[in-house]
Amino acid sequence: MDAKRNMAKGPQPREGGSSQMEGLDLESVIERARGHDAEALGEIYRRYARRVFGLCRYMLDSRESAEDDTSEIFLKLQRSIESYDRSIPFPRWLLRIAGNQCIDALRRRKRGRQVIADVEDGAAVIEAPSSEPSPLGVVISKEERTKVRDTIARLPENYRVPLVLRYYSELSYDEIAQQLDLERNYVAALIFRAKKELRRRLPHRSK
């Protein structure tokens, strides 16, 4: 349970108000939220809004869309929380829903077309020539993490979306493939290429 709690980022700063919910464990909060307890839903919002907003912010290109879709996700949560079956940790489940919502939003903007189009060489993997930059280094400072984050944010959509779903939402390749309506192999190739592109864009670090 604690591990799950830890996955939640700190409370949303602007939601400063304290309530009796604050001390409750996640399990009870979810249980009460399933009974459409507005306060419990509010508490879930307080605990996870920042994390969900983070995902939306990475996935969508403007802050406004991210804000809109964050509220949308929590609005939908009221209806869908009943379908949460505890088979996976709640934060992960929530991020899965959030990912779906973001992809829907991206799709709406493209008027229903696929967010990432399957290309002909779909599953084909371009092998890296040995001269390419090596994987990013081990320990990096806060500034460098910011740089990595900013670079990811600037990656093209077809690289950014799978990368964020994998390393922020921690979805499996299969789950990402399902959300994006793509072949699993293609997702693997996209993530692989995304990392290569990231290495290329970030100043080359030693091994």
Partner: protein, 535 residues
């Protein structure tokens, strides 16, 4: 044994390799240092990615890292916004200092308890059943606020292309008329929901972060919230002030909205009037009447029975059906193959290439597509005529002023020269007086006084330019005496300068504001001196 490719190693590190293959890789790693180093490096990279992504910046995500706002603000708009914000903060500071009677505390938007804004407070008060008379007065204040809000935003949107807004005027009037003078049910909180099996018989005023209607509202629905969602039925009108308004159910009346986004996926009995940044009518959406909107971007995939009038700062995409005319003023217009316009199509755009009409699109009436030439005001003679009339009027008023209150006018002109004092005082007066007018108006006896104050305020704003113009003329011409003739000549020169400078893009607006503040400050100062008893 041959080494594994980087991608296979990456799959393994992500835990995405099939069990048997993963086992083979592990066996290989035991013997191959090169592959082991690669896998370690990839693992470290994954950690870097996770850590970087999960460490959300304190200020949430920094906007600089992402593409700029969809809504590209002109610098003029930003200047207006900055001025509005500056004035707002001045007003708020002033308001905080003010000792407001306890009975009026609910109208103070900056009180400790008042997180919600003035309008929320206003409706709460009405809903709490304040005395009928006070409610009447309060309604006036509410109207003023709403009108200012709508007028201001219409102006901001309208700056993009001098639109004609008869529809917006209609909206303002209708909004004002539809304000509560009847039964109200008020709800507020984090989430406000009308459950599927619930029926609200009155007009419902809902203020919450998320407002959702699954059931039936027999009256109007007036909402303030981040997200407003109507999935059930609203028999009256929907009036929403929200970041996001989504209608997937039925609204039998009109929709009046001031939202960032409006999504219509359901049925609307009558029309949409609103100021919206992004408007989307889904292919399931159906509007029983027409649409008059000022929007950032609009996409129309559903059906609108009657005419559509759009003033847009961005693009208008139509792939649905419009029963009658489509009139738009904006940047770009796209009609897809499925688009159908029953009546005339009239578009005002900046470039002809911005209008794309697919071959399959049907247009029942005439096509009238015109290019709006920007800055055209300087080429039309009407513009110069208007300016001349304005100038002549100002000279006349100045002359009359000099005739009736010669010393007052000359002294006020002199006081403009006190510079920062006048400017500072003027900013205070410009921002403070409207607040004072509102505060005076809501006390029972003060209403006539507030009207007088308002007329004086408007007159002073007009006269401000005259005093500043006269002052400018005076320092430029350096007249030897202080005769009326010289004063008037100075006024003419000064006003000409002020007027011409006022037309410089971006800067002009600021200069104009500065001029008004200077003049108002000098006026206030002179009033103060004049009211002091002569010793």
């Amino acid at each position: 044994m041959e080494c594994y490719s980087e991608q296979t190693c990456a799959l393994a590190v992500d835990g995405e390799l099939a069990a048997d293959e993963a086992q083979r890789l592990r066996d290989h790693l035991a013997t191959c240092q090169r592959c082991r180093a690669l896998v370690d490096a990839l693992r470290a990279e994954n950690r870097v990615l996770s850590e970087s992504l999960n460490e959300l910046p304190e200020e949430e995500a920094s906007p600089a890292a992402f593409s700029p706002l969809r809504w590209s603000w002109g610098r003029g708009d930003l200047a207006i916004l900055a001025v509005v914000l500056a004035l707002g903060s001045i007003v708020s500071g002033w308001f905080n200092e003010l000792d407001i009677p306890a009975a009026l505390e609910s109208f103070n938007p900056f009180s400790v308890s008042g997180r919600t804004n003035l309008i929320f407070q206003f409706f709460y008060y009405v809903a709490h059943g304040g005395t009928a008379m006070l409610a009447d007065y309060a309604a006036v204040v509410g109207w003023i606020c709403l009108l200012l809000l709508l007028g201001g935003s219409a102006l901001l949107l309208g700056r993009r292309g001098r639109p004609h807004y008869p529809g917006l005027r209609l909206l303002i009037v209708l909004l004002a008329l539809s304000l509560p003078s009847f039964a109200l049910e008020r709800r507020h909180g984090e989430f406000v929901t009308v459950a599927a099996n619930e029926t609200v018989d009155d007009t419902l005023v809902a203020a919450a972060k998320m407002v959702r209607v699954d059931g039936v509202v027999n009256g109007d629905l007036l909402t303030f919230g981040q997200t407003v969602e109507v999935r059930g039925t609203v028999k009256g009108d929907l009036i929403s002030f929200a970041q996001r308004t989504e209608v997937s159910g039925t609204v039998e009346g009109h929709i009046y909205t001031f939202s960032r986004t409006l999504d219509l996926e359901g049925q609307l009995g009558h029309s949409i009037y609103g100021v919206v940044q992004s408007l989307h009518i889904d292919d399931r959406g159906r509007v029983g009447d027409g649409m008059v909107v000022a929007v950032g971007d609009v996409s129309l995939e559903g059906e609108v029975k009657r005419s559509v009038n759009i003033v847009t700062g961005g693009s208008a995409d139509v792939s649905g059906s419009i029963g009658r005319d489509l009139t738009m003023v904006g940047r770009s217009l796209t009609l897809t193959n499925t688009a159908r316009v029953g009546g005339n199509l009239s578009a005002r755009v900046r470039q002809l290439t911005e209008v794309q009409i697919a071959d399959g699109a049907t247009i029942g009436g005439k096509r009238d597509i015109q290019v709006r030439v920007r800055e055209s005001q300087f080429t039309s003679s009407r513009f110069y005529f208007h300016q001349a009339v304005w100038l002549a009027g100002a000279i006349l008023v100045g002359w009359l002023g000099m005739l009736v209150f010669p010393s007052f006018f000359q002294a006020t002109t002199q006081l403009v020269g006190s510079g920062w004092l006048s400017l500072g005082l003027g900013v205070g007066v410009l921002a403070g007086v409207p607040v004072a007018i509102v505060v005076v108006a809501i006390t029972l006896v003060g209403f006539p006084l507030s009207l007088m104050l308002l007329s004086l305020y408007l007159a002073a704003i007009y006269l401000a330019k005259i005093w500043v113009g006269a002052f400018l003329g005076k320092i430029l011409l350096k007249p030897s005496g202080t005769t009326k003739g010289e004063w008037l000549l100075g006024l003419l020169v000064g006003l000409l300068i002020v007027t011409i400078v006022g037309f410089i893009p971006y800067l002009g607006g600021l200069v104009h504001l500065g001029v008004v503040c200077l003049g108002l400050g000098a006026f206030a100062c002179q009033l103060y001196w004049a009211s002091r008893p002569a010793i």
